[in-house]
Amino acid sequence: MAPTPAASLTRTIRVQLFARYAELFGSEFVELPSEGIHTVADVLERLRALPGGEVIGTATLVAVNLRQAKPALPVNVTDEIAILPPLAGG
């Protein structure tokens, strides 16, 4: 059965946060209403508006489905989205 318009409006995009970003946002994930979010750039813009989001910029690293993603990549509610602070392995 297709979702009703009301249900589709309440769908959310879940975004995982790590390390310093999880501390700044006070959580290891945030849920964003999916309405109006079409791309990785849209996700970053929404995050920037949240408390703790000042650190998010257009060059912030984003992974979609375990791969680094460019700002123009389309996203939807089924994608696994993660915001990556500057990497520091090794």
Binding site: A19, L61, L66, R67, A72, L73, A82, L87, G89
Partner: protein, 148 residues
């Protein structure tokens, strides 16, 4: 092989995993926790990761190195709390000859540092705690894959 480990890294295990009768050159790299960073004393480190992605990217890096050179590559990265001198990353590469083994080992560590989602939090000698890796607006170290 899991590429991330909460347990101490054993370089011998990685060497055994890549060695073979035809491989006359084994190159290893061990990254250890040092007691200073940018002029300040460090007393301990903690590593965390986006684990599913880190495992996936490590597998890609190993496959890439083994495609580029006729070698076998093993690598592991430690997670959790580490003390000064502990091994944080271990890589072993075996090939018929040293040139390809050195090149592949260098490739593996450089790509790991550039692409694998792992983060490091330092406990400094003065008791403060800091995430390593300055925010650099406008910089984009890597944007591979998922290109629209």
């Amino acid at each position: 092989m899991a590429f991330l480990s909460q347990a101490a890294l054993e370089l011998d295990e990685l060497i055994a995993a890549v060695s073979g009768p035809g491989r006359g050159a084994v190159v290893t790299f061990l990254g250890t926790v040092r007691d200073h960073h940018e002029g300040r004393g460090v007393s301990a480190l903690g590593y965390s990761a986006y684990e599913p992605m880190a495992e996936s990217v490590c597998a890609e890096i190993v496959a890439e190195a083994e495609r580029k050179w006729p070698v076998k590559v093993a690598l592991k990265h430690r997670l959790g709390d580490l003390a000064i001198g502990d091994s944080a990353v271990a890589i072993a590469v075996a090939g018929d000859h040293r040139d390809e083994a050195f090149a592949a080992c260098r490739y593996a560590i450089e790509e790991l540092k550039r692409r694998v989602p792992i983060w490091k939090r330092e406990r400094l000698a003065d008791g403060s705690v800091e995430w390593v890796g300055a925010e650099a607006p406008g910089s984009r170290p890597q944007a591979a894959g998922n290109t629209p």
